[in-house]
Amino acid sequence: MNQLRVVAVGHVDHGKSTLIGRLLHETGNLPDGKVAELRAISERRGVAFEWSFVLDALQSERDQAVTIDTTRIWMRTPQRDIVLIDAPGHKEFLRNMVTGASDADAALLLVDANEGVGEQTRRHAQLLELIGVPRVVVAINKMDRVGYDAGRYTAIRAEMEALLERAGASATAFVPTCAREGENVALSGSPHMPFYDGPSVLEALLALPERREAGGEALRIAVQGVVRRDLQRIVVGRIEAGELAAGREILISPARRRARVAALHVWPEREKVTARAGESVGFTLEGPFFVDRGDVISDTWHAPALATSFRARLLWLGARPLRAGDAYRMRFGTRTANVEVTEVERVIDIEFLDRGTSGFARTNDVADVVFSSPQTLPLDGVDEYPGLARFILLDGLDIVAGGTILAPLGPNVSNDLVRVHHLLDADARAGRIGHRGAVLWFTGLPAAGKSTIAMQIERRLFERNCNAYVLDGDNVRAGLNSDLGFTPADRHENIRRVGEVAALFADSGTIAITAFISPYRADRAAARRAAGEAFHEIYIKADAQTCERRDPKGHYRKARAGALPDFTGITGDYEEPQTPELVVDTSLLSIEAAVEAVLAYVEERVIAPARRHAASWP
């Protein structure tokens, strides 16, 4: 049988820690001397012997006789190893309860027979489904306090059955117990409770079937990052679902690029061709693909949806209420995204009386919430790929919620929006045209010479029978980007579109030359992602004084006069390229020499490789 992780939950003081302590004792899982040690500790505190001191190890927990934080303890039985996770029942420590429960396969839910179902009993029952622990054993504890009354047991059992059903969970057993005395804990058949002939708590736990979380069959890997080894870029991550195999075609989202797995890598080195769900893997891709942390790798036939909006169910842990318009950072998979609350659709009342549209959620509420993000996100719903649908919300450095993505929303939703295959590939195009497509991305300060050089390069390449085209700032803004202004967001979008268009030109076999200041590294990195290996960053360099002296369009003069706010080079920042493919310093070179330098580079890096390739054809 297999290891089982069980979290003990329920209302404060209903006896979770005591039941676990007793269970460990009865199964011989306490080390020698532990009982004597606990007896001494109890005497020192002047209290009756406390089994809960086995788990409540903190001084403050023992002093107050309350579990504060979750803990774990390993229990061996001949049939199965069990990891017991004790979780606090006090409302104030709900974050610790969900922390413990989120690591469990099944739950042991305790109810005090005397006090009956409490507020935290209901809350915990409700949270089990959200956390992903739907299988439950219920212990109706402290039966001695109600004179081992069968009627009391039956009534609580009926109430719990209804409660769990509404919560989307189900119990495999309802065990009447007296944990302090060990009745129905490890051994069943308490003489005080002849009305019950079911299993003990231990027997019920051992009988739980293996957990197999329902999930999709397609490959899912949330990329953790790229490890460089020698000249290889090894993509690393853990397989959430499906299978990864060398030679297989995969899809990278949100870019929706197809790529082929070149090889799997392990250390110590050995041959490895496939890897399955659960494995932490490293692999390389064939060809010029740029993969980054946060990307999702999937099979081509079933990819995550792409959307900017989604519905989620969450447990709100923040001190202030959650309201529409609030902005947070969300972590899911390996991605961190900015999200905004569009609507708090409903708070799910712990009595399961739908409060309807309440508009906000308070601390410890479970709520259905619609989020939106300025980014297009690769999204999977919790029913299909729970490992990628679970998230935390961050407000600054504080965790304010945990939850699951229920479903992506909006017009962009498509699990199957997969690139259509061209019937031609880059080699075929290059064979006809005589060179591969490329993006020559010129970046530099205003008046550094980008446009001048770009236009000359375009003509010289044309004369050399190459397909080349310049995407120039003003020209693009007059058409494609005529809806954009000069706000920071619009500037980013302007560059993003140019990057995508340039990548399409390159894909068609054209040498696209872009002449944009493009001052931000992040924007240039995005353009590089779009075009992959076809991208060549060319830094047209000139010091600010030289540029201002040239000032062919009079922009520096206007900026100095205050007419152009955020003018790069005067009031706006320019982030120099760190590792451009080529640097051309126009404060040292003439325009002619600069053009020759760029042409030499294009000849060597763009044109010659295709020639060599063509020459090697049979």
Binding site: N29, P31, T71, V266, F332, P386
Partner: protein, 290 residues
């Protein structure tokens, strides 16, 4: 440490399924633990910088070092640090030097301040152990570390059982055990406030016997003091002034595993500081000890 077993019964099967979210055939508990630890190490590396790992040369942190090499395809992309009180056993220093050479490690030796700088209200052995807390604090301050990887396990000690995988620390390195943040599934919160650091615990879910089985399976080197000679061996390897060997005839890893199957003694029985007072270890850990 509260691990034992039903006396006189057979040992449970080694083949077990994966963690809750990922079950599949033929995968052992060790495979699952390994995959999870590698994922944690990669999260730490890609999210937290500057980063360092503590290496005491014990079985746990040496197995962890092996996992680091698996995670990063053979290399160890951050420094590994010994908090040195100059009280380790000679075999331990010899092991460090040998492995540092063989594995090409960037090993740093952080000499810990003298005991007089520790909290004088702590019991004697605990006070001696607290030198490592002071050494760690100095290391973090000097190197401006935002993350420290530590090979502790939940089953070792009951306050460690309450740890998080990513455990944020107060500016002085203290562990605010009463106000730990939530840690949900394996969606780790890796951000660190300026001037603070996070402890990263990739072995938290491993047990003592898991580490031994893994050490055996992967053929990871160990300090020979773990193996019995003349009826004694170190079950937990600490500094010579505050650690004693246990009675044992386990002279191979197989025999250690068999011994652990039947023992009812806690792992840290040989650590003097754990037994000085009820709260000694809690005070040590909340002060910033590993």
């Amino acid at each position: 440490m509260l691990r034992g077993r039903l006396p006189g019964r057979g040992r449970s099967a080694l083949l077990r399924p994966a963690a809750p979210t990922r079950c599949y055939e033929g995968v052992t508990l060790l495979d699952e633990l390994e995959a999870r630890s590698i994922a944690i190490l990669r999260e730490a590396y890609f999210r937290v910088s500057p980063l360092a790992m503590l290496w005491s040369m014990g079985k746990d942190s040496t197995a962890l070092l092996w996992l680091v090499r698996k995670a990063f395809l053979g290399s160890v992309p951050f420094p590994v640090v010994l908090l040195d009180t100059e009280m380790e056993l000679p075999e331990v220093y010899a092991f460090r030097d040998e492995l540092a050479r063989a594995w090409n490690l960037d090993v740093r030796n952080e000499l810990c301040p003298p005991e007089t700088s520790s909290d004088q209200t702590l019991p004697p052995a605990t006070r001696a152990a607290a030198r490592k807390t002071a050494g760690l604090r100095a290391l973090i301050a000097r190197e401006k570390l935002r993350g420290v990887i530590v090979g502790i396990r939940r089953d070792e000690q009951s306050t460690r059982a309450k740890e998080r995988v990513f455990s944020p620390r107060l500016p002085d390195g203290a562990w605010d055990v009463k106000h730990q943040p939530a840690e949900l599934w394996d969606v780790y919160h890796t951000d660190v406030a300026d001037g603070q650091h996070v402890r990263i615990h990739p072995l938290l879910d491993w047990t003592e016997v898991d580490v031994w089985r893994y050490t055996q399976r992967e053929e990871i080197p160990i300090v020979p003091l773990y193996l019995a000679r003349d009826g004694k061996r170190y079950r937990s390897l600490g500094e010579k002034n505050i650690t004693v060997p246990i009675d044992s005839n386990a002279a191979t890893i197989d025999e250690i595993i068999a011994e652990l199957e039947t023992t009812r003694q806690p792992e840290r029985a040989g650590r003097v500081m754990d037994h000085e007072s009820e709260d000694a270890f809690e005070r040590l850990r909340t002060g910033g000890y590993m």
